[in-house]
């Protein structure tokens, strides 16, 4: 036994040394990304939470104001407008994109000629640069010269003075929604296509034998089978909608990149308060509202995911 003792500690030492080396190797793998991630993401995130309770213009001394920024938000009509517009935009965009991307996926899931071509095509609006495609859209819907209003004028005989001005007033949100559906449809279509592959073929065969028609097979086999995908797509879409900025600025911002009350969105208001007014604390308070919105949707997602995992 006496001889065994030093052996054991020797063994321990060796084990520790090996564990230490193992950790070191692992850290060397993680370090390049983690250091960048910590400095450029984690630190600013911490800072963002602090900033919401401060008053600061970036130069003068910082002042702690507690909840004042949040109190001011409630009375700010521009904030209310941007929150309202963001939510209306999301409520419009999410279901429309959902339906059209699902429809597209159902069509492209069948054996048709040129399927790969169509799938690629659906992706073009998503990968194309936003400045390029939004400038086409603003030309299409140009109030006096655009082809859309030309059709309304020549074909539907809408009098000149009644031709809609698509990028102002209440129509602008509709424009943002339609554009977003067009742009994102192909992306979510791919997710639905993947979801469709997970539904077992036998279910359809059994359904056909039992005499279910196409609609019944869709309603009772496809839709339930796609539930996890539909759920995930809705969550991703909603979060992306909350983050809208550049689409709004490029479609409705005109040549000065400014949005009016009718098209203002949350991220625009964050940007404006920070970089135009230098009200950094206030801007961060708006950012916190965006964060809470996204967090709420994410929590719903986690709940739902565990539910589907149990099914």
């Amino acid at each position: 036994m006496a001889a065994g003792k030093p052996d054991k500690s020797e063994l321990d030492k060796g084990r520790k040394k090996r564990a230490f080396k193992k950790n070191l190797v692992a850290y060397s793998f993680i370090a390049p990304n983690f250091i960048g991630f910590a400095v450029f993401t984690l630190v600013p995130i911490t800072f963002a939470f602090l900033l919401a309770f401060l008053e600061w213009d970036g130069n003068n001394p910082v002042k702690f104001v507690g909840l004042e920024n949040f109190k001011a938000l409630v009375k700010d009509k521009f904030f209310i407008a941007s929150l309202k517009n963001t939510i209306i935009y999301s409520i419009g965009t999410v279901p429309l994109t959902l339906v059209s991307s699902l429809g597209l996926a159902l069509i492209l899931n069948r054996e048709i000629k040129g399927r790969a071509f169509f799938r690629t095509l659906g992706f073009f609006p998503y990968v194309a640069s936003l400045v390029a495609v939004t400038s086409v859209w603003t030309m299409f819907f140009h109030s006096s010269k655009g082809p859309v209003n030309a059709v309304l004028y020549y074909v539907f005989r809408v009098p000149k003075e009644n031709l809609p001005n698509w990028f102002t007033g209440s129509l602008v949100l509709l424009m943002l929604i339609l554009f977003s559906v067009w742009r994102f449809m192909g992306y979510y279509m791919v997710m639905f296509l993947a979801g469709l592959q997970t539904i077992p073929r036998e279910l359809y065969e059994a359904g056909t034998i039992d005499g279910a028609n196409a609609w019944q097979r869709f309603r009772f086999i496809t839709l339930p089978g796609l539930r996890p995908t539909t759920f995930l797509v809705s969550v991703m879409l909603t979060i992306n909608c909350f983050k809208i900025y550049d689409i709004a600025v490029m479609l409705a911002g005109g040549s000065t990149n400014t949005l009016s009350v009718s098209s203002m969105v949350l991220v625009y208001y964050i940007y404006q308060n920070a970089f135009n007014f230098w009200k950094l604390g206030y801007s961060s308070a708006v950012a916190m509202v965006l964060f809470v919105l996204v967090l709420a949707v994410t929590l719903i997602q986690f709940k739902g995911q565990s539910k589907y995992a149990n099914e």
Partner: protein, 279 residues
């Protein structure tokens, strides 16, 4: 029997009709862009009659855009940023993902939690403090700022880790027994196997960096630092009625993304499908 056949033909026709409408909607803006890019400004909106290809295509638009604005500088900046960011992103996140997927070490869960915790955190929430921090580092109005901002995303680590998890551990075990170092396993076994994930991450990062607008808008102020998106937008704001030129610039801004996308798209579809569903 006949009515069944008729129904089948009918449903097939409806299917193709829907597909045709979709195709037109998808492709029309791009055709319009191409067509307008070789027109004179006054021809662009000429509806009566509307022609897709003008009698005398104005190729001059594609020449003028380079002299009217420093378009070459924009292209240079954008290409530089996109390549550096994409390479850094792929290298660092595949590296980190290997450790999270295949190695055991102290604080593994806690470190990974730091990444997970930021899922619900849109960049837009912390873009302002991030700018203030970068400014204090002296990175304002420098391309390096955009690199720092884009190259270390949590998303890349997730995507790669997800893929590595699907590669059997026994493969690494066998290599370890053969005396291969972890770096060797990463470089010679994991990397070659993860082509689809790398292709997906490449497209995502490439497209995001190439098309990014808000990031460059916040950081890049001087003319010679601007990217294509910023420059093009500025050009549109300045010469809003030079439609032919705007469209020529737009067409050129699309070409690189479309080439990269077409080369890698086979993997891409697999990629979003798998990461999306499992994510």
């Amino acid at each position: 029997m006949n009515s069944v056949k008729a129904m089948r033909i009918l449903s097939k026709s409806i299917l193709y009709l829907l597909l045709a409408i979709m195709t037109v909607l998808m492709i029309l803006p791009f055709l319009w862009m191409l067509s307008s890019s070789v027109k004179l400004d006054r021809e662009v909106f000429n509806m009566n009659p509307f022609v897709w290809i003008p009698e005398k295509p104005r190729w001059q638009n594609y020449v003028d855009i380079w002299t009217k604005v420093p378009f070459f500088k924009y292209v240079q900046n954008t290409v530089f940023l996109t390549i550096v960011v994409t390479c850094l992103q792929i290298l660092t996140s595949s590296f980190a993902a290997y450790a999270f997927a295949k190695l055991d070490f102290k604080f593994k869960d806690r470190l990974f939690f730091a990444y997970i915790a930021t899922i619900a955190m849109p960049w837009q929430v912390y873009m302002v403090p991030q700018f203030l921090m970068m400014r204090s580092f002296g990175l304002n109005d420098r391309l390096l700022a955009i690199i720092c901002l884009q190259a270390f995303s949590a998303f890349g680590v997730f995507l790669m880790r997800q893929f590595y998890l699907s590669i059997p551990d026994s493969l690494c075990e066998a290599a370890r027994i053969d005396g291969m170092s972890e770096y060797g396993i990463y470089a010679r076994i994991m990397l070659p196997l993860s082509k689809p994930a790398i292709a997906t991450l490449t497209i995502f990062t490439f497209v995001a960096t190439w098309n990014d607008y808000l990031g460059p808008l916040i950081y890049l102020k001087s003319q010679d630092k601007k990217t294509i998106q910023l420059g093009l937008k500025m050009f549109i704001n300045q010469y809003s009625s030079e439609y032919g030129l705007i469209m020529a610039g737009s067409v050129m801004s699309l070409i690189p993304v479309i080439i990269v996308f077409l080369c890698l798209q086979k993997y891409f579809v697999e990629g979003i499908a798998s990461t999306g569903i499992k994510g």
